[in-house]
């Protein structure tokens, strides 16, 4: 059984609010997949539907090819942390893990193992109600790891963590993925995922806007722009325009070139015997790339194409990115 999360065409309406509007993606093993988008984009709803807690109006969600509600011993298929505050405050951390372990036919020593793994062993006997948010996150992760599942899903696990905890968490997520697990981590802050996610699902308004590797997303956001310095500004602009680039002067001796790779820019300038210096490919930060994507989504929505058939949008995605950024959402239309 392939350790994946497969979500296809999920739609869910809460009253007048369309929480999910054709949410589709696949989370593959061996990498950390960031699930990012602004608050209200549908991340938590999607996760609840994956866990069979909420029922989708339309669409399917599978774990390793099976609906969650049909799983036996589900915690050995998926470990999930939805809400670190979902605890009986008067119950100790160990007892919280103990009942959960018993529900899966596991014993108390497995609870002790995951307490050790998450660094909670020394405070295991304390009431969970007295835990800080960061400690509760760790306890939630311990619970998610109880069944040693191949799929891990966490909703905003960085919330309430101190910087040390965030660093620990990043390393921990990476190590889980390195073991071959599929790891889906949601966040509304791209910066939290900067150094841990390998792959990104950017969501907005209940849909996937981009399903891309982190590298490809940055490349796309950078837009193949090249910056260079030249003393022969006019000559350079002429040569590059002939080569098919769009050139903008940003300073008396500075140009920004788009539509042409750095290599081709250098070749065109060399062929035209134009002097230049400091050729540099522009690199966007992940944050910038994300902002650009979500802004597009917002603009698209503001354009009033709300009722566009969902199928055309979904058709725009491949199950996997081919390496290039999938500029879905606004880009596709």
């Amino acid at each position: 059984m392939e350790a994946t999360i497969e979500v296809a065409g999920l739609r869910k309406r809460f009253g007048s609010a369309q929480a999910l509007d054709g949410m589709s993606f696949t989370v593959l093993p061996g990498q950390v997949t960031g699930f990012v988008g602004p608050n209200g984009a549908g991340k938590s709803t999607t996760m609840r539907i994956i866990l069979g807690l909420d029922a989708a109006d339309e669409g399917t969600a599978f774990i390793g090819g099976l609906p969650y509600r049909t799983l036996r011993h589900p915690l050995s298929h998926v470990g999930a942390l939805l809400d670190a505050a979902a605890l009986q405050p008067s119950r100790s951390a160990r007892n919280h893990l103990l009942w959960l372990a018993h529900s899966q036919g596991l014993g108390g020593q497995r609870a002790d193992q995951v307490l050790e793994l998450t660094g909670l062993a020394s405070v295991a006997k304390r009431k969970a109600g007295g835990y800080s948010l960061g400690m509760r996150q760790r306890l939630g992760i311990a619970a998610a790891l109880l069944g040693d599942p191949p799929v891990i899903m966490m909703d905003e696990p960085f919330n309430g963590m101190d910087p040390e905890g965030i660093i620990w968490m990043r390393g921990f997520l990476k190590s889980l993925a390195a073991e071959g697990r599929a790891v889906l981590v949601s966040s509304h802050l791209m910066s939290e995922l900067q150094d841990s996610a390998d792959h990104l699902l950017v969501v907005g308004r209940g849909q996937v806007i981009a399903d891309t590797s982190v590298a490809a997303l940055i490349e796309a956001a950078s837009g193949e722009r090249v910056e260079l310095r030249t003393t022969a500004r006019t000559g350079a602009m002429t040569v590059l325009a002939h080569a098919g680039a769009t050139v903008a002067a940003t300073a008396p001796d500075r140009l920004t070139v788009s539509g042409l790779s750095a290599e081709k820019t250098v070749a065109a300038l060399t062929d035209g015997h134009v002097p230049f210096a400091e050729v540099a490919a522009h690199r966007a930060s992940l944050e910038e790339a994300y902002m650009e994507l979500t802004r597009d989504a917002v603009e698209f929505r503001a354009g009033g194409a709300d009722d566009a058939p969902d199928g055309t949008l979904r058709g725009g995605y491949s199950a996997r990115p081919s390496g290039d950024a999938q500029r879905a959402g606004g880009g596709q239309r």
């Binding site: 029922a55 100790s92 018993h102 497995r110």
Partner: protein, 537 residues
């Protein structure tokens, strides 16, 4: 791209059994100290309040003793101050009985039959003047004044018997062994409407017949009195129970009143196997010397007081002051309130913190999860109820005996049934509360609803906040019908008394009450399961 080996779980979970769910829910329950303490509070409250009630019976016992006057009056009445010397006459079934009547008898050997015609039944009721004489002076009949033919194992009080009789207000009856009662021909007896009665013995079987004309006979009943000796006393009898003027007021309280009555019957056409007649009391008349018979030719006039019937708890004579099983268990409804809180919270606490999502993610099959929770809370409550009831009854009995009070007797089988019944009441109530918690989800609302459903109607009925009829209705249709499981005593139509919940009488039979409570629990559980499946969590 590197090839990825998908991760395989290193954990080998046990079999996918319901037992794990039970184990998980049990772990959940026992690891919240507040719930465990709540259960202990429920047990202590249920057992302790009954003990307090046993303490208060001191005064009523002493008062009863005082009323009875000094010196031993009879084996059935109080002897001054020592309550413990009070005893009940027990019937063949172990239940307390009245067995006092005027008996005109002859020895009957082997099979045979007695036939009579009753031509008149008249009586006297207590004077309504509070300063009037203690003896009945006012003409009138107590409705259960009765006369007829009786065959009795011997003349000791409480011995087995069978009788065919006509009661003043209830027509012809066949009664045997105090608790059994079968109606025959209806209507009052009088010179214009005489009643022919016949009682036949064939081995151990006694058969009663009635007739309006002495020619056409109808069998009223046949009863086997096993172990009947070859020769038994048999003959005519008359009894007239105390006039019971008690009535329950709206808003509580019972008005006492009444006093001894007597009845006089006239028989003719008496046919008996032979032998000479002898008159005398079985037991004692309430007014010494108030019983007689005259025989003139074939005509017998028999006057008597007393009753041949079971004694309801809390009514009449020593039964008024006796400690009862119901009294020991009076704290049950307080215990049930504490228990309802715990049982409701067992579910609502999960909703409060969204822990329900963790629970349902761990066990996606909603029905099984709910069932596991219900079984765990039901089992815990069953044990709590069992402990509370056993402690209440044993400690109550011990205190009663230690202080020299007396106890209304009940058969051991009834005590066992009441204790187990209390446990069942607790268990099913807890399941109902859990289901309410699942349906409502909010702790405060759910707890309030559960308490109002389970303990509310009982409280209204027992505290006599509502009239008897409404109380009766509440204890039939609400979940409080389950309190009938604690009803230690059967109700007797042939004994006039107020059968109220406070004295331990419930309108439904124990198992019918359990069925009503189970019906509520099952309906609530079904709705809870439906909602749990359909609702987003």
């Amino acid at each position: 791209m590197t090839t990825i080996t998908p991760y395989r779980s290193g954990q080998r979970p046990g079999p996918d059994g319901f037992a794990q769910l039970l184990h998980a829910e049990w772990t959940k329950f026992r690891t919240v100290r507040g719930w465990v303490i709540g259960m202990i509070v429920a047990v202590v409250a249920a057992a302790g309040i009954g003990l307090l009630g046993t303490g208060t019976s001191t005064s009523s016992c002493q008062r009863a003793g005082g009323q009875a006057g000094s010196g031993p009056v009879s084996g059935q009445a109080a002897s001054g101050t020592a309550c413990s010397s009070l005893t009940f006459t027990l019937g063949p079934g172990g239940e307390p009985v009245s067995d006092s009547f005027y008996f005109v008898r002859q020895p009957l050997t082997g099979d045979g039959s007695i036939t009579v015609r009753v031509t008149s039944l008249t009586g006297l009721l207590p004077s309504q003047d509070p300063n009037g004489p203690p003896t009945p002076t006012r003409p009138g009949l107590e409705p259960w004044a009765k006369t007829g033919i009786i065959i009795k194992q011997d003349t000791r009080q409480g011995s087995p018997y069978a009788a065919i009789m006509v009661a003043a207000g209830h027509g012809v009856r066949m009664q045997w062994n105090y608790t059994a009662d079968t109606p025959g021909m209806p209507g009052a007896v009088g010179p214009a409407s005489p009643r022919w009665l016949r009682l036949t013995r064939a081995g151990d079987v006694i058969t009663g017949y009635d007739s309006a004309d002495g020619a056409h006979w109808t069998q009223v009943g046949a009863v086997t009195l096993s172990g009947l000796p070859a020769t038994v006393p048999g003959g005519l009898f008359t009894a007239s129970p105390d006039d019971d003027q008690e009535s329950q007021n709206f808003g509580g309280g019972v008005n006492g009143g009444g006093g001894p009555t007597q009845a006089t019957a006239v028989f003719d056409h008496v046919t008996a196997p032979g032998g000479s007649w002898a008159g005398g009391y079985v037991g004692y008349p309430e007014i010494p010397g108030a019983g007689a018979y005259h025989q003139a030719g074939g005509r017998f006039t028999v006057t008597g007081q007393g009753d041949v019937a079971p004694i309801p708890a809390g009514h009449g004579g020593p039964a008024d002051a006796a400690a009862t099983l119901t009294g020991y268990l009076l704290g049950t409804f307080v215990g049930l309130i504490a228990l309802a809180v715990v049982a409701t919270m067992f579910m609502t606490a999960e909703y409060r913190r969204n822990l329900i999502r963790v629970t349902l993610a761990a066990n996606p099959r909603r029905g099984r999860t709910l069932a596991a929770k219900a079984i765990v809370i039901g089992a815990v409550s069953f044990v709590a109820g069992l402990v509370a009831a056993a402690v209440a009854v044993l400690a109550g009995t011990a205190v009663t005996h230690a202080r020299g009070y007396y106890e209304f007797p009940v058969p051991t089988s009834t005590v066992v049934r009441v204790i187990i019944g209390t446990a069942a009441l607790a268990a099913v109530s807890a399941v109902l509360a859990l289901a309410v918690g699942t349906i409502v989800r909010r702790s405060a609302t759910a707890v309030a609803i559960a308490i109002v459903m389970i303990a509310g109607p009982y409280f209204l009925a027992v505290a006599a906040v509502v009239p008897l009829g409404a109380a009766d209705w509440l204890l039939r249709v609400t979940p409080a019908a389950g309190f009938a499981l604690q009803g230690p005593y059967p109700q007797y139509p042939q004994v006039t008394a107020i059968y109220s919940a406070l004295s331990g009488y419930f309108p439904l039979a124990p198992w019918a009450g359990l069925a009503v409570l189970c019906g509520w629990a099952a309906a609530a559980l079904a709705l809870a399961a439906y909602l749990l499946r359909r609702r987003d969590s």
